[in-house]
Amino acid sequence: MNPVNYLYLAALLFTIGATGVLIRRNAIVVFMCIELMLNACNLAFVAFSRMHGNLDGQIIAFFTMVVAAAEVVVGLAIIVSLFRSRHSASVDDASLMKL
């Protein structure tokens, strides 16, 4: 199959993720959408790697997974601490500092 199709899929997944970040209210869902964007990047890296016939892209995909895992650790810790003190993970409720 033509690897370019995977690039279209990656762009589509990235767009779905970005749209989700912008329209969803729950911090956890927003965060999942960001993870979807990172996975779309991974798909693009692997597809380009195949197209160019070098392995750089596949190695970068591993690095991205590690970074995404580290981001989950930090992000969930922050979101859970916010949820425990407010009993809500809605990003709209977090508005103590509006002008």
Binding site: A27, H52, D56, V67, L82
Partner: protein
């Protein structure tokens, strides 16, 4: 029959694998980063094994020694001409060791050292149950206002994890402006961002605001880094490589032996333009340029003030360093495309930051918008695209970072019953109540405004001069006008402090330990020295202004 002989019946020895060469790592040139990472790991072990009572002192000792040693390593590299004639690329093409990298790394390390002193301050808050406390939560996991939090406070817990977190952030910041391939750039970005997200959530007072700031910073920061990663993917697709030099060659069309697959994507300018735009967008987010600045005021206001000061100073240095290298080493072939865009970004950043700052009523938010306006001024130097543009940006960053960290250190001193009194109305008459603190803050504000004889003037003059010589004269006009707008609200704070009556229920000024005094003192000295005698430092930045390719 021996075991080997039996084995030989049904197997045959292949050629020994000798084709994979061990990577060549220049440990000497990477010493600053390695020292800081090593100390951060030691800091984690201290958290695990040292008794709670002595952790604070152990962490302080390790952090100070590590930052000082790393700075000494930078100086040694610079003295050994690694910044000029012997500039090179270390770690198999991953990290550049050159003038701008060493200059910015030195600035980041000194800023971090001063920031560390404000982190370690333990005399500002009244002692809780006989234990000295710092600006960080007793136990970050305890719900604000709950019994477990009260227990933690009573037991005298402190979050000494902030020291290793600071060191990890510094390690990422050291690599960020020196990254010479896109993967290193991305990993360094995450290494310095993740500890900062956590540090933002750790305030002792106003914990709900602090957690809210951390969530906002984290979600928006992760969003921006996802965009940046997609940009990196597209650039990799365009050029088939992650190395700055190779991508620059592909952009110029001077690359040798093009393989057929690469020839297909090299012709596709959409990959290049969209990829470069997304990559630069990620960097502009970290810099805090309009329209990617929305996180700045909330995060600066909500984060613990020592963290805000460190973040405002060091992140800006690291991010501008990376932006310079990306634009000057990776994308010089695209300068006719990026310059108009950066013109627009610089203009809206300068004007937007200065105008919105006028309406602010909280001192931390005011400084946040002021940092946005300053990002615009620095962008004017970036746009110059000349060697003097690079050196002026380096000088401006060094001058700006010490002013910022000093100003936020002063903010930690003005307190009332609820912690820091950040509302501007409470600062009225501060000059009558404690003239010294108000005078020091006035010096910092004048430096922000760019009044002569302060470092702010020397920096702004260098940046605008470079921009004018680089053919961006209209930008300089806009810059001077927005400086004038910005000067209005800095002067307004000075007037408020010195020429209005103090309120009876006003805040008190805490007497800090020598740690915060050192931080503020260093800020004042650097501000005045760089303002009165900037020549030596301008020449230093001028010598450091050439990137290695």
């Amino acid at each position: 029959m021996s075991a080997t002989a039996v084995h030989n019946l049904w197997t045959t020895a292949a050629d020994p694998i000798s084709k994979i060469d061990a990577p060549k790592i220049e440990y000497g040139q990477l010493a600053p980063v390695l020292i800081v990472v090593g100390a951060a790991i030691v800091g984690m072990l201290i958290e695990a094994f040292v008794p709670r009572r002595s952790r604070y002192y152990a962490q302080m000792f390790v952090s100070v020694v590590a930052l000082a040693a790393a700075f000494a390593a930078i100086v040694a590299l610079a003295v050994g001409d690694h910044g000029t004639t012997k500039a090179g690329i270390a770690a198999m093409g991953a990290i550049a060791v050159d003038g701008p990298a060493l200059f910015l790394q030195g600035t980041i390390l000194l800023t971090a050292l001063v920031g560390l002193f404000t982190f370690a301050e333990r005399r500002l808050d009244p002692a809780a149950h006989g234990n000295r406390v710092d600006s960080f939560a007793a136990q970050a996991a305890a719900v604000p206002g709950s019994d477990s939090e009260k227990k933690a406070v009573k037991a005298g817990f402190t979050t000494t994890e902030v020291f290793p977190l600071l060191l990890f952030a510094v390690a990422g910041m050291l690599v960020f402006p020196a990254a010479n391939d896109l993967l290193t750039l991305f990993v360094a970005l995450e290494v310095f961002s993740l500890p900062l997200y956590l540090l933002c959530a750790l305030a002792r007072r106003k914990r709900l605001m602090s957690q809210e700031a951390a969530v906002k910073y984290f979600l928006l920061g992760a969003f921006a880094s996802a965009f940046m990663l997609f940009g990196i993917a597209l650039l990799y697709g365009y050029a088939g490589s992650m190395s700055y030099a190779t991508i620059a060659q592909v952009v110029d069309g001077t690359v040798q032996d093009v393989n057929p697959a690469l020839a297909d994507t090299m012709g596709n300018d959409a990959l290049l333009l969209v990829g470069a735009a997304l990559l630069v967008m990620g960097l502009l987010f970290k810099v805090g340029a309009v329209p990617f600045h929305m996180w700045t005021p909330d995060v600066y206001q909500g984060a613990p003030t020592p963290v805000t000061g460190f973040m405002a100073a060091a992140t800006k240095v690291a991010a501008f360093g990376a932006l310079l290298r990306v634009l000057y080493v990776l994308l010089p072939g695209l300068r006719w495309d990026w310059r108009p865009v950066m013109w627009a970004v610089a203009i809206v950043t300068m004007v937007g930051g200065a105008i919105v700052a006028i309406t602010q009523t909280d001192i931390k938010r005011l400084l946040a918008y002021s940092s946005i306006a300053h990002a615009g001024f620095i962008l004017a130097g970036v746009i110059a695209a000349t060697p003097s543009g690079v050196s002026s940006v380096l000088f401006y960053l060094a001058a700006y970072s010490f002013v910022t960290i000093g100003a936020f250190a002063v903010v930690t001193l003005v307190r009332d019953a609820g912690g820091e009194a950040t509302h501007l109305s409470k600062w009225a008459g501060l000059g009558r109540r404690s003239p010294l603190v108000a005078a020091v803050f006035a010096v910092f504000l004048l430096a922000f405004a760019g009044i002569p004889l302060t470092s702010g003037f020397a920096g702004k003059f260098a940046v605008f001069k470079a921009a004018a010589e680089g053919g961006a004269a209209p930008l300089v006009v806009v810059g001077v006008i927005s400086s004038a707008i910005a000067a209005f609200f800095y002067i307004r704070v000075i007037v408020l402090m010195f020429f209005s009556e103090p309120r009876p229920e006003g805040p008190t000024v805490a007497v800090p330990s020598p740690l915060t005094m050192t931080a503020i003192g260093v800020g004042v000295v650097v501000t005045v020295v760089l303002g009165v005698a900037p020549q030596y430092f301008l020449e230093l930045a001028g010598d450091a202004g050439v990137f290695v390719r």
